[in-house]
């Protein structure tokens, strides 16, 4: 491995993970070069430093859903450009190309270790997983379906926040998703919120924070203010783990931080509490 590392260093240096198509990848945590196959087998967790790299929505669904059980819903709900916002149409095209998805959120039903659930997963490659009207609508519909079928719902967030390009309408998705979450809450339908890297701003300050159980992946960036804004506003010096999953755990906002390889099993154990007995 060392040999490969030396041989390929110059070519690899500075390349983001997802741009690398060959046998080697560079860890975003420790900057070490890893065998792509080991890395993939390890669920994109660095075997050296434990850094959890982002998963696409499809990868996460594969991680959590029992094989061949995921049935997508609401795939036809996609973004419009209600404000005629500069460059938005382009960004949407790029988002579709980058992610291979029609929208930044994939939702549907599946079983998780045999337990039927509704599962919704955000994809960072589509405009940073940002929440516009379509994402809000898909979250709302997924929750409504969970409510109607009385199925537990698991939502994996991965988002920079509300989607600026839809202005106030994106902001209102915070209220909309929390409105349906309120119905779930009143009806006693279990809702597990999984926070992955990153879960920020308007997503964290809405549906992602009101789960019955809030699970996070190690090292995930989780916070309200963008790093720039947060740093400008600092009177108090931020601690080294500021806005990480571990920081949020310490401050009482997250129930449990779960390494990716235990995520499915842990979700199963939590789901059993709600559905079993």
């Amino acid at each position: 491995m060392q040999r490969g590392w030396f041989a390929r260093r110059s070519r690899i240096e500075g390349l983001a993970l997802d741009e690398m198509n060959d046998a080697w990848v560079k860890c975003n945590g420790c900057q070490q070069i890893l065998f792509a196959r080991d890395f993939e087998r390890n669920l994109k967790v660095c075997p050296r430093c434990g850094h959890h790299h982002r998963l696409s929505a499809r990868e996460r669904i594969e991680l959590l859903a029992d094989p061949d059980t995921f049935v997508e819903r609401d795939a036809e709900v996609v973004s419009a450009d209600p404000l005629g916002f500069p460059e938005y149409a382009d960004k949407l095209s790029k988002g579709r190309a980058n992610s291979g998805l029609p929208e930044a959120m994939v939702s549907g039903t599946c079983t998780l270790s045999g337990i039927p659930i509704v599962l919704a997963v955000a994809d960072f490659a589509f405009m940073g997983g940002s929440m516009g009207s379509a994402v809000g609508e898909k979250v709302a519909r997924a929750m409504e379906y969970a409510l109607e079928q009385r199925l537990p719902i698991v939502i994996c967030s991965c988002s920079g926040g509300a989607r600026m390009q839809e202005g106030l309408l994106s902001l209102m998705q915070m209220a909309k998703t929390c409105a349906v979450a309120a119905k779930l809450h009143e009806a006693g339908v279990p809702y597990i919120s999984v926070l992955t890297d990153p879960t920020m701003a308007g997503v964290l300050a809405s549906y992602a924070s009101v789960g019955d159980v809030v699970v996070a992946e190690p090292g995930a960036l989780i916070g309200f203010a963008g790093q720039r804004v947060a740093q400008q506003a600092q009177v108090v010096k931020p601690p080294p783990n500021f806005q990480t999953a571990e920081f949020q755990l310490e401050h009482g906002m997250v129930d449990i931080v779960v390494p990716r390889k235990e995520l499915k099993h842990t979700l199963h154990r939590i789901l059993r509490f709600f559905t079993g007995g």
Partner: protein
């Protein structure tokens, strides 16, 4: 010191001239009423002209105008016997959100609002109207008090944003806002929100989930400040005026998107030129919107509030 916006300068000159003439009349007993009347007509014409052509950025500046009436100004002008209540019963009392019991004519209500400061000291104490988690939690506590005793809730929205600092992050600013969104949707009493200045993103929304959202003519409501938007879009915060245009952050935009139910006219030249008249308009709107809401059954009330938010957004169905 009074702030005068660039586009207010010609008006300020006329203001000064009119003042001077009035002073002469008062001090020297010389009748200047014809001249005054003429200048006042000029001023009115000028105001109408300037305010007919306001850009979204002009409105942003008006919404942030340091002389613009703030929540406590409206509370004083609109309600009888405001008893301010303090604290979230958990951590602290946030000066950026005020709230308490008050009377709207003959009816007891709970009033809550974001409060900016007038002078430097008050600004700091009130954190420039940027609420911390304890502010949102105080607000929620007071809403639950209102709910328990069947009193309607009125909120005044005026904040650049929720506080983005380390301490707010540590105490769960996201959780506090999210919880308010979830709880306000289900509150068993009517809620009317009035956006009176800056409707700054989630920080504003955290007290603005309501049965009726009213918005003053020159207030703004936006997912991101224009400066921040310009910085992201063009790496240049100075292009904020363009971003303000793009963001569709004016009251009439909000009305068009269904986010707001009514735009409240302001006195010519903006609320700060006649705070009492502005307050009177708000009061009349409250008195118009509250009684029909109070007549609804709790389930009807909650269901229509739910539908109001459930239906917000514009998306499309992919065909293919």
């Amino acid at each position: 010191m009074r702030t005068i916006l660039d586009f207010e300068k010609p008006i300020a000159e006329l203001d000064a001239n009119i003042e001077a003439l009035k002073r002469i009349t008062a001090e020297q007993g010389i009748d200047k009423s014809d001249e005054i009347a003429a200048l006042e007509r000029d001023r009115e014409r000028l105001l109408r002209e300037i305010f007919r052509n306001l850009t979204p950025w002009d409105r942003t500046l008006l919404a942030r105008h340091p002389q613009r009436p703030y929540t406590l100004d409206y509370i004083r002008a609109i309600f009888d016997d405001f008893i301010e209540l303090h604290g979230d019963r958990q951590f602290g009392d946030d000066g950026a959100i005020v709230g308490g019991m008050a009377w709207l004519n003959e009816k007891p209500v709970v009033v809550i609002g974001q409060q900016k400061g007038r002078d430097l000291k008050e600004r700091q104490r009130r954190n420039f109207g940027m609420a911390k988690p304890e502010g949102y939690r105080k607000a929620l506590r007071l809403m639950h008090l209102a709910e328990k005793f069947g009193r309607p809730v009125i909120t005044f929205v005026d904040t650049p944003a929720a506080d983005p600092g380390v301490e707010s992050e540590s105490r769960g600013i996201s959780e506090a806002i999210a919880r308010n969104l979830r709880e306000m949707i289900m509150l068993r009493v009517p809620i009317v929100s009035v956006v009176i200045g800056e409707g700054g993103s989630g920080g504003a929304l955290g007290i603005a989930v309501a049965d009726r959202v009213l918005m003053q003519e020159h207030a703004i409501y936006s997912v991101i400040p224009p400066e921040g938007c310009a910085a992201i879009l063009w790496r240049d915060p100075k292009r904020a005026p363009e971003a303000a245009e793009a963001l569709k952050l004016t009251a009439h935009d909000a009305l068009r998107f269904g986010v707001v139910d009514e735009v409240l006219e302001e006195p010519l030249g903006g609320a700060h030129r006649d705070p009492l008249a502005a307050a009177q308009t708000v009061k009349e709107a409250l008195l118009r919107h509250l009684p029909p809401l109070q007549k609804l059954s709790v389930s009807k009330l909650r269901e229509s509030r739910y539908e109001r938010y459930r239906n917000l957004g514009m998306w499309q169905i992919a065909t293919e």
